[in-house]
């Protein structure tokens, strides 16, 4: 026990000293994110006056922009940023970002374009000839065909890029596949008492099966087990990977509304495709109430059908995003106060929040799975009364 306490303490100290280093890296980020241009007219402005970029950036070095730093992290990105370092070039300090280039795939003008990001001389530019200066490092990608007046000529393209979140999700999928295929294989080799990894994962599996799925679905557990297990471990692994503050982690996958929306839609489909006669009967023509109440209840039930997955979607998205925002805010305190003295406080709070977020990672995976199981069980329940 004592060993762990020492380990944690030394970790604290280490992080405290590491913080200034990280600070410099983080400071670089606003410059990238400052380039985030969401509105197309802003882009147009940039094309027209590319030199203007440098001045506000210099001004921003004085005033630390927390919002853009945090939002830059919370939102998806077309590069997987690792760190920045400064280097002297012709007497001028240049920020050099180190990032994993990710392929950009856009669907525009009726055809699919695959554009690779290159990572040369620190700047990330599209190698496709059509790319323009303004597309550099662009968060909300616009497929631009600027005309002479610096106005955007084309429509906003559909962005099917392998973004940071997609890449992170793929990584999680690979981890999940490796972990659970080997977990399944362990049973062929060792059907008796679980050992090693198997002994670690089995209680989790059994917990989800016996305490989350079975109490709701009972006899139908086996039918819905694959879906609910996949949901649970997909969310859990994404949450945990999102908590790792450095490279292969830190993507805010389950804190992205698109991801939670897809998961919620899957639950929606599982509920409504498996809903039995009783379920639809209860939805559209509630038995056991006066006739004039039935249409009102039908409206309420129909709203419920939509609201259930929407609640799932928002809960997961908001919880995970909030966690990331809090941790980033706590780290940002150091740069807001511009003093290292805040670092220990920040570190301790971040450590505390990280622990809390570990709990939330499990809790949200649990709640999503649990509620999905509950909703499915309501849809497949056989009513014995009446």
């Amino acid at each position: 026990m004592k060993k762990y306490v020492w380990f944690l303490l030394s970790l604290c100290v280490l992080l405290t000293f590491a913080m200034p280093v990280c600070a410099q890296e983080a400071e670089a980020q606003p410059q990238d994110t400052a380039k985030q241009i969401e509105e197309s007219d802003e882009i147009a402005q940039n094309i027209a006056e590319p030199t203007e970029d440098a001045q506000p950036e210099a001004a921003k070095e004085e005033k630390f922009d927390v919002t853009s730093l945090i939002m830059g992290h919370i939102k998806d990105s077309h590069v997987w940023h690792i760190l920045d370092y400064t280097k002297e070039e012709n007497g001028v300090e240049v920020e050099v970002p180190v990032a994993v280039p990710l392929p950009v795939i856009v669907f525009a003008n009726g055809h699919l374009d695959l554009i690779y990001l290159a990572n040369d001389k620190g700047g990330l530019t599209f190698q496709n000839g059509e790319a323009t200066e303004a597309m550099e490092f662009h968060e909300s990608l616009e497929y631009l065909e600027a005309n002479a007046n610096a106005e955007i000529a084309n429509e906003k393209p559909l962005d099917f890029s392998i973004t940071k979140n997609v890449a992170s999700m793929m990584l999680v999928s690979i981890i999940l596949l490796i972990v659970f295929i080997s977990f399944a294989k362990a049973y062929k080799k060792n059907p008796g008492r679980p050992k090693g990894m198997q002994a670690f994962l089995e209680p989790v599996f059994l917990y989800v099966r016996d305490d989350v799925i079975y109490p709701n679905l009972g006899e139908k557990t086996d039918k819905f087990l694959p879906y609910l297990m996949t949901v649970f471990f997909f969310i859990l692994f994404n949450n945990i990977l999102g908590l790792i503050p450095f490279f292969p982690g830190n993507a805010n996958v389950t804190g992205n509304i698109a991801v939670t929306m897809v998961l919620a839609i899957f639950t929606f489909l599982m509920i409504n495709l498996n809903g039995n006669k009783d379920y639809w009967h209860h939805t559209f023509w509630m038995p056991g109430v006066p006739v004039f109440v039935k249409p009102i209840l039908a409206v309420v039930e129909l709203m419920g059908i939509i609201v259930k997955p929407v609640a799932l979607m928002i809960r997961l998205f908001a919880n995970i995003s909030a966690g990331h925002i809090i941790i980033l805010s706590l780290v940002s305190l150091i740069f807001i106060f511009q003093t290292i003295a805040v670092a220990p406080v920040s570190v301790i709070f971040v450590l505390f929040m990280d622990c809390l977020e570990m709990l939330v990672a499990f809790l949200q995976a649990y709640i999503f799975t649990m509620l999905s199981a509950v909703f499915i069980s309501l849809a497949v329940a056989e009513h014995k009364h009446e």
Binding site: K75, D222, A258
Partner: protein, 164 residues
Amino acid sequence: MDLVTPGIGLVFWTTIIFLTLLIVLGKVAWKPINNAIKKRSQSIEDALNQAEIAREEMKKLQADNEKIMDEARAERDKMLKEAREIKEQIVAQAKSEAEKAAAKVMAEAEQKRDAMMVAAMADIKNQVLDLSIAVAEKVVRKQISTTPDQEMLVNDLVKEIKFN
């Protein structure tokens, strides 16, 4: 607003990734794991049931053993008791027979003694008779001259004879 607007690309990729995971993991992970765990818990349950049955049988056997032991003990006690009784009986019988035999011996001895006594008496009487006859003979032979003497002699003799 950007934050809560789902991007089409991410929706697309999430769907593909999640569906792939669902299908692959469902086939190669969840079902085999679930079946393996079920099979194992079934076998554990069977083993427990069998153990329970074995324990019951064991208990029954133990009860039987106890019963047999009790019976054997009772049998032994009974046998011991009987043996003791027989012993006592035999001893008593032997005693009475011995007493009887002793009494018989005594009686016989007494009878013999009596008989011998009678014989002895008879013998003595005969001898006394012979003796008196001899005396009388002598007396008669020697001094039958005087009657008073004779009478005195006879009286003396008779006195002597009268000893019983």
